[in-house]
Symmetry: C2
Subunit: 195 residues, 2 copies
């Protein structure tokens, strides 16, 4: 029987795994998220997912699978991380209003011997959001701890017209891709995950 | 200050509205969902959403807004409702495996004077699902009360490769569309909804 570790402090990622029934331990991986990063959003999230997963290498014992993930929002080639403050959140939401952006999540799954790193992209179309609506949304406190300053799974969902890709990738963890990797590369069947 | 009534027994719809912060009362509308239905999925879900909303017409008092919704899954022109039993769920999931299907949700918003009915369509791409996986999923009990025999917001999410359209429409209530109608046609601003 395999044990699973989610190398993440994100409440959203934890909720996704808990919700489908997977039993796991969550451990925040303390990694450098600033220096030596590659140039493209896809390479950045893969690298950070890998750093998080490999930071827990002292947990590898042959039966443990560590899952790392990292998410960024990308608008017109610019990477949006978590906003620094309310003004930063306001700028981000104004730039996302009415347009399409991409959400990149990197995923790294490793048991210490085999390491699979990949990523998923989902396009999100936001409706026009007025300044009053942006201020009301920021007043809820929700945007401040989220890449791109919104949460599709929370109140921010009312601004999302449509997406193209995996929904859970926007929340922060590409769920179908994770389960397929667990099954194909690590011999963990769906039966064990959703039981 | 407006009052809101959700004309639905669906726990999923209730959760969506509660989660964004809207205060409402949920009342299951007892309507005929069988006879006199139109032919196309879009017309069917609009008609049923309207029947549900108007069934609560005794609640109209000038300040009350009633929201009706209905969802069906459509595969190759065939409408899939909730499965009758496990065998029916198995047939539905086998037909959805590996392909694309459409989820239609009808939406009817009315205050007794003005009535707005519309619908949304989201395309869902499922990955290939093996017979063992289908059986494991049915054994969780999740498919039996859901149109199309899966819940994207629950364990069924692990089978969904991608969607094109509104995620919440697949769950059962087109959220962005609802909030836009409330704002545009009934003068209920986002500030009142997500406060």
């Amino acid at each position: 029987m395999k044990k699973f570790i989610l190398a993440s402090a994100s409440a959203r990622r934890r909720e996704i795994l808990s919700h489908i029934g997977l039993e796991y331990t969550a451990i925040a991986a303390d990694v450098d998220e600033i220096t030596g990063l590659p140039d493209t959003p896809a390479d950045i999230v893969r690298e950070l997912a890998k750093r998080k997963a490999l930071a827990l290498s002292d947990k590898f014992d042959g039966d443990t699978i560590v899952i790392g993930s990292d998410t960024v929002v990308c608008m017109d080639g610019r990477v949006l991380n978590k906003p620094k403050d309310k003004d930063d959140a306001r700028r981000m939401l104004k730039s996302l209003s009415g347009g399409k952006h991409q959400v990149y999540s990197g995923l790294c799954v490793t048991d210490g011997e085999k390491t699979i790193c990949t990523h998923a992209v989902t396009t999100v179309k936001m409706r026009d959001i007025s300044d009053d609506e942006i201020n009301a949304y920021i007043a809820t406190g929700e945007p401040l701890d989220k890449a791109g300053a919104y949460g599709i799974q929370d109140k921010g969902g009312i601004f999302v017209e449509r997406i193209e890709g995996d929904y859970y990738n926007v929340v922060g963890l590409p769920l179908e891709m994770l389960c397929s990797i667990l099954s194909r590369d690590f011999g963990v069947s769906v039966l064990e995950i959703i039981k």
